[in-house]
Symmetry: C2
């Protein structure tokens, strides 16, 4: 509602003549819930807007007294700086871009959810907002829009794929700071990662120690770099325990039931007694597939997986899996980016450890 404005509503205002100084003085456009500008504060307090700005930002010398006066006013009238104005003056939006891959499956979502939560919370703590984009290697126009229209100060790429280099290259060329979650493609690019290789090595090692003799590995999309890291970890375990790799069988790109069933066929013919799945989605397809063939888990076949998706916690049998600190991963990605942006980040990084959770499927 406008006081004295004659029923003029917000949405229509742009059709009116431009608001003029005298209108403000006369209170013609004063709303009940006035939105203060730095000018209003300066006027009311009898100081210059330079001073107000300094009090708020804390940059430059300012007397304690003046600063407190400004703070009191701000507090009382719930003043907040106008984002776009600040962004224009500082060439800084206080926005972070978060890029999701277009092709992630529903099962990856808990990963992205956790990651997003970590990023969001951390960004908020530093007064940044996060704007999203969805992109894949063929089309990252959404991300390009964010950089070209100067809507963000930096970006977080939430999954690195083998073919992602075009986008990373682009960002580097545009001098847009970015960090990638997972191994980075572009030389010198910042990245955060949880220890996929080490974790997979540990999990594989445990399976081997449990006496599994013929272990199969069901991998996901080979273009996802995480797949490669885990493969390395798998091989590491064989090396450490001096077991020849011939006693393993490896599959990739297991992304649907058909692929799973085909792999199972071979795995059974080969005589495996254990299967390691690179993610919970594969594990869930696998369980269905094995049950169909009346193969008992863990009696006939041991099973282990990654991610430790809470959705599969209640299935029977429960699946031994590797648990990551995904939220911490997001937090660290954000902290890393904030540092690139010149923020004074003093808080400690989250520790990105992993732990193997043993359940029925490997009993």
């Amino acid at each position: 509602m406008l006081a004295g404005g004659g029923g003029v509503c917000y949405a229509k205002r742009k059709r009116l003549r431009r608001r003029r100084p005298e209108d403000v003085r006369w209170g013609r456009f004063m709303e009940k819930d006035k939105v203060y500008t730095i000018n209003d504060i300066a006027r009311e307090l009898g100081v210059s807007k330079t001073t107000v700005s300094r009090a708020i930002s804390g940059k430059g010398r300012i007397s304690r007294e003046t600063q407190e006066k400004v703070f009191a006013f701000i507090e009382q009238h719930d003043y907040r700086p106008n984002g776009p104005a600040r962004a224009l003056a500082q060439s800084k939006t206080y926005n972070l871009g978060l890029v999701f891959p277009a092709d992630y499956s529903a099962v990856d979502f808990p990963f992205f959810k956790e990651c997003m939560n970590g990023i969001y919370e951390t960004a908020s703590r530093y007064e940044y907002d996060v704007v999203i984009a969805i992109a894949d290697d063929q089309d990252f126009s959404g991300s390009r829009h964010l950089v070209e229209n100067r809507k963000v100060d930096g970006m977080i790429l939430s999954r690195s794929t083998v073919g992602n280099s075009a986008m990373q290259h682009y960002l580097k060329e545009k001098q847009m700071p970015f960090v990638v979650v997972g191994p980075a493609e572009e030389a010198g690019a910042a990245s955060v990662d949880n220890q996929n290789r080490e974790g997979c090595c540990e999990l594989t090692g445990i399976l081997l120690l449990k006496g599994i003799r013929r272990l199969a590995l069901l991998g996901g999309n080979r273009r996802h770099l995480v797949t490669e890291s885990r493969l390395q970890g798998f091989k590491d375990a064989y090396r450490v325990q001096k077991i020849p790799e011939e006693e393993s069988m490896i599959f990739f790109d297991i992304e649907n039931y058909t692929a799973t069933a085909a792999a199972v066929e071979q795995i059974l013919a080969w005589g495996a007694d254990g299967i390691l799945c690179m993610d919970d989605f594969i594990a869930s397809m696998l369980i269905g597939c094995l049950q169909e063939r009346n193969i008992r888990i863990p009696e006939d076949m041991k099973l282990a997986s990654f991610y430790d998706n809470p959705q599969f916690e209640f299935l029977s049998p429960t699946v031994t899996s590797l648990h990551y600190n995904t939220k911490g991963l997001g937090e660290n990605a954000c902290l890393t980016l904030l540092r690139l942006l010149g923020e004074d980040v003093t808080e400690e990084e989250a520790v990105l450890n992993y732990q193997v959770i043993l359940r029925e499927s490997t009993k």
Copy 2:
């Protein structure tokens, strides 16, 4: 890289003296990849920036010839308007806020993912970006930040809960346009919803027609309005088929395994021959719970669910469930909001139908 600037890098620029007109004339700060402003275009083309602005926006009269000249230049130099500057001048950010609930469980994620995709794609089509917030009824400070710092033009609340009225009330008072996904709390607030009541009525009806005599309903969080809608649909089906409600048994707030097990106890004692779950998460816990007791599905107990989460597609038994057009829901939410913002939305809304997918669990 800067031409003639002496190895000065972008990040350090703010420590340098302010860039002056003569620097630009002398090319002192010209980067290889110059970022053009509307002023540059005007100068190069020998027109005023007013004209350039008009050519770009298409507002006001402008000669075809001039417009084409401007377009050509823009195209060639890949000019994009500076977002913050435009936002400041127009009091319009071209950002939409998307509010996620803080408490959604992993199983809800496919829902939010689909919804988000729909929103993102639609927003992009209208040149809007989407910035996220995470909020619950107790704390919506993140959303408040978005409105108070004028970072968004409108908001989409991605789930309506019973206690959500505080936030909706706040938005209304601040005159921030918003639309809620699901039934709206605040009178007169815009909302989009898929037909939960109708869908649940249909699914329930099918179960009853299949000869299930004692049907139990396992509901989710009662504070989520979707729970209420589905309950109504459930009751509708009984009414339609003139079956007394005594032949049903209803539970709410089934959010963990303990609650599920407790409900199952009662359900079995009661002698149910069918169970309808309000979401896939409940269904997955239920399957585990029933298998533990060696109760066969569908022989001993029929089962049906909602959402049709692809993650559960490969489990055995496969579960009969209701499939929604969640992405369309997001699209429509976005279209509705864009209309509230005065955008000229001509495209048609997605149709939000639902369909029952029959699977093994009700055979």
